[in-house]
Symmetry: none
Subunit: 536 residues, 2 copies
């Protein structure tokens, strides 16, 4: 059976930039465009040339892509020709292979927002599209508020689509601009549009996530015959965001009825870079990736429930609808209060510890974890601390050094320029190989990012560990998470530290105490001990 | 027209706790249960009694609710009677009004995971449900992997549902356990189940978000006749989470075809607390609320695009599918324009500050807030710090005292019993009424809950403020939240402190610095100044 071609249109660089707090630089736009192109997206909407300086700069230096680079704009204004509309001229001047213009199809918006007649508006659409086509570009028409417009005046909304197609548009795109249309209505109205003679292979869908249904709405339109899907990476976009291509793409490629009936520009090999593409965008935006994101989240294949975890060990298809490898993600079996022994053995194996099913150490480890979790510890993400705990119970943890005492001071007072400034100082006394070593370190305002007591302690602790110094020289603290939690009957502070080393390893450790400095120090000690285990 | 009743079933406390990194304390469970009850949820699934200690402790001290408190468990095991199954006995012993048992309906899972015959499994379902009903409780049956099971053997899957209903179950719930079923299949299969004679008003739906379609899947089942929806607050849950009730509820109450045909236990007034309920859960989990969350996100009604913003000012329905007030959310228009200023005036009025529309201080306050937010501050919840900032700009903030310097030390070493113990000591120098005052305070391990440097500082600072001493004697620090966030181009620590006084007031303040001690001190100072404003 020949598959029908479905086209993917990404608007991360344009609609995605409407997100509160998001403003891409030109270089960032170039990076994202390259990732989209390597993934196999068909159209890359790069921005609105003329509307803001970075958009224009991006088109001037747009990377050469296999994908069709597309400039966004709006249909010409009334009372002037397409040739004389300077806003449209700026869009054309970007020189892209395709141009996508948004225009109105909802009579309420034509009369209220534009204040022109319905005929004038339709004429603006037709003339604008003709102008694009005459200039040898591919033309797309984004029909703003189409679903609301169709509900209030279907004849008029349809006549606008027809006007665009008659003028030579390659695509007309049904936009649910305010995000209020539910999937069933998207399906019903798209089907009526197809039944009215608009060919599905010229019909696109553009949804927003205001009811958390943008992905479902896109699929509903595809079910009804639309063959272009518009969306953004990670669902970036104004208000609640656009349809999330990162969630739509694997559904189209891996799941029925789509996998066996439709074809996209994305191959199975490229699909494996999807998780990376999602995280790259978060990195550019300096966002913590959403753990629970569909398909690509760090928790998407994490099995916490004891019953699920033991079934997964027998056969992953018991609780996984697709294999995580297909989209470049990985399976996680975390420890928790509810985890069983099989879960524990699996986790130990991941740490390189093969423990027999009947080893009594298993239940000791489990009891120790439960007890510590009751006191505020968490081992779901702190795999390195988990490994140390297990090794201690198994008698497999050497004592590299012993901390005899430490002291940390934070002092805030006026400096010589008569401004308040802080100085943190830490002293740590350790015993290594029978020898006592005393280290001191300080950090102060305005000297890089390491200005607090925890960093002073970390620096002092790492300063002189004798024979182990080489092994820890390349490690650094990359993240530090603090929360107040319940430890037994009292509030305690839980600190999770993420560390990294020159070999590209990244590991997490946990510390808990009523005293934030002690909790941090405990997590630091675990981080160093784990590193020494690997390299000393 | 009489509306059909649709029931809402929340499993935040059970399935929600399957989220990686989530472990509720008993007190947190009680708080969440009360919020759910006030909202008007019909069923609150509190946990699996016997499976872990906090779940059992919660049922022992469960709040009295209008909602039906429900205990979760699994159908009895083969080879023993329901009466003799100790796992089931622990569930029954929780004494809840309803009991929900999960059981298998997918032949592959019966034979592979359980290793029993199909008849044995169906018999286990029937006997378990009978056991619940005989004991005078309402019985629910969660049909695990129902959709996959129905696809592979529809007769068997249906026969399990019928066995549960024949045994007296009030509800049978179709669970898409691995989250892989797309909305259209949920609709089709639910419709077939109804057509096969399972009454819609005894049929529930339980979806997961692995393809970002959990909300749409729930709505599809309702479209096909199901009249119970299971989900969690904020879509908490294993892997990618459960269906998000926070997104489903407003769609059911505010949007067609649901609003005019279905009735839930949630009234229009309670719906206004939805945003608060969502943020409360994030606060308990120490999570940053998702700005783009449907309906309740801080960006859900934020209009960044210039064209949208100006249309919104003419008529909000141009770009909003529902009014934000309906769910207790607020519209955000870029700070620079008129709407931003009227928002600010409302917030000032809440702090008792009536500022005229044309007061130039308004734009100074706005600029100051924006600048501080760029540096990591947040004033969403820290209303007391917001008030102090505004008063400073308005010239309405007296200087009660001045901090000249401070110093805090944490020392950890062996005590006289040869055990490691910590001592925190703080020295604070303030100038009050022209007089310099030097206070010192210490806190140590094992002496109440105040054992860290921040508490030592708080005690020292509050120790001697001369004429203001009376006013602050009854205040205490009740919560302390720390987060690493972005401040300009660098990572900074943000501390939010909640304080309380003898008059029952509770207020929040914020401090930001690369140094956690400095950030804490800043928030402490705000807390004390706010208290002095009220009482000095």
């Amino acid at each position: 059976m020949t598959k029908e071609r479905l086209y993917l249109y990404d608007t991360t660089l344009r609609d995605g930039q409407q997100t509160q707090g998001v403003q891409f630089s030109t270089v960032e736009k170039q990076t994202i465009a390259q990732t989209l192109d390597e993934l196999g997206i068909d159209y890359i909407e790069g921005g609105w040339p003329g509307a803001n300086p970075t958009d224009s700069a991006f088109f001037d230096a747009a990377p050469k892509t296999r994908a069709t680079m597309t400039a966004f704009g709006m249909t010409k204004r009334a009372g002037m020709s397409a040739e004389n509309d300077d806003v449209l001229a700026a869009v054309m001047n970007a020189g892209t292979g395709a141009v996508c213009l948004v225009g109105k199809t909802h009579e309420f918006h034509v009369t209220t927002a534009l204040g022109i007649t319905l005929d004038e508006n339709r004429d603006n659409i037709a003339k604008s599209i003709s102008h694009i086509v005459k200039n040898g570009r591919e033309a797309l028409f984004d029909a703003e508020h189409f679903f609301d417009g169709f509900k209030s005046n279907p004849e008029y909304a349809l006549s606008c689509l027809k006007a665009a197609l008659d003028a030579g548009a390659r695509w007309v795109v049904l936009c649910d601009t305010n995000g209020g249309t539910l999937p069933y209505d998207v399906y019903r109205i798209t089907a009526e549009v197809v039944a009215a003679g608009i060919p599905g292979d010229q019909l696109g869908i553009h949804t927003h996530n205001d009811t958390e249904n943008a992905v479902a709405g896109s699929l509903a339109a595809v079910d009804a015959g639309a063959r272009q899907v518009q969306g953004t990476l990670n669902g970036l976009g104004e208000r609640c965001g656009n349809a999330n291509l990162i969630a739509i793409i694997p559904t189209l490629l891996l799941k029925e009825p789509y996998a066996s009936t439709l074809e996209t520009g994305i191959c199975a090999e490229a699909l494996k870079s999807l998780t990376m593409a999602s995280r790259q965008l978060d990195e550019i935006l300096n966002r913590v990736p959403t753990k629970q994101a569909a398909y690509v989240g760090a928790s998407a294949f994490a099995h916490k429930a004891g019953l699920h975890a033991s079934a997964i060990l027998k056969d992953p298809t018991t609780y996984e609808h697709i294999p995580p490898e297909a989209i470049g993600n990985t399976r996680i079996i975390p420890m928790s209060n509810q985890a069983g022994l099989s879960n524990l053995r699996r986790r130990l194996a991941e740490a390189g510890l093969d423990v027999q099913r009947d080893d009594p150490a298993l239940s000791r480890i489990l009891a120790e974890i439960k007890d510590r979790e009751d006191h505020g510890y968490t081992y779901d993400s702190a795999q390195a601390s988990f490994e140390l705990l297990a090794r201690r119970e198994l008698g497999l943890l050497p004592e590299f050094f012993e901390v005899k005492r430490y002291k940390v001071t934070v002092e805030r007072r006026k400096n010589k320029y008569d401004k308040m400034a802080s100085l943190s100082e830490a002293v740590v006394v350790v015993k290594v190989d029978g020898e006592k070593k005393l280290s001191v370190s300080e950090s102060m305002d305005g000297h890089g990012s390491d200005r607090g007591p925890v960093n002073a302690l970390a620096k002092a602790l790492a300063k002189d560990l004798g024979p182990f110094q080489d092994a820890i020289d390349d490690m650094r603290l990359v993240d530090f998470k603090v929360r107040i939690t319940q430890g037994g009957t009292e509030a305690v502070t839980r600190v999770i530290i993420d560390s990294e080393d020159g070999k590209g390893r990244r590991w997490s450790t946990v510390g808990v105490s009523p005293n934030i400095v002690d909790a941090s120090f405990e997590a630091l000690l675990d981080a160093i001990n784990w590193k020494l285990l690997r390299d000393a």
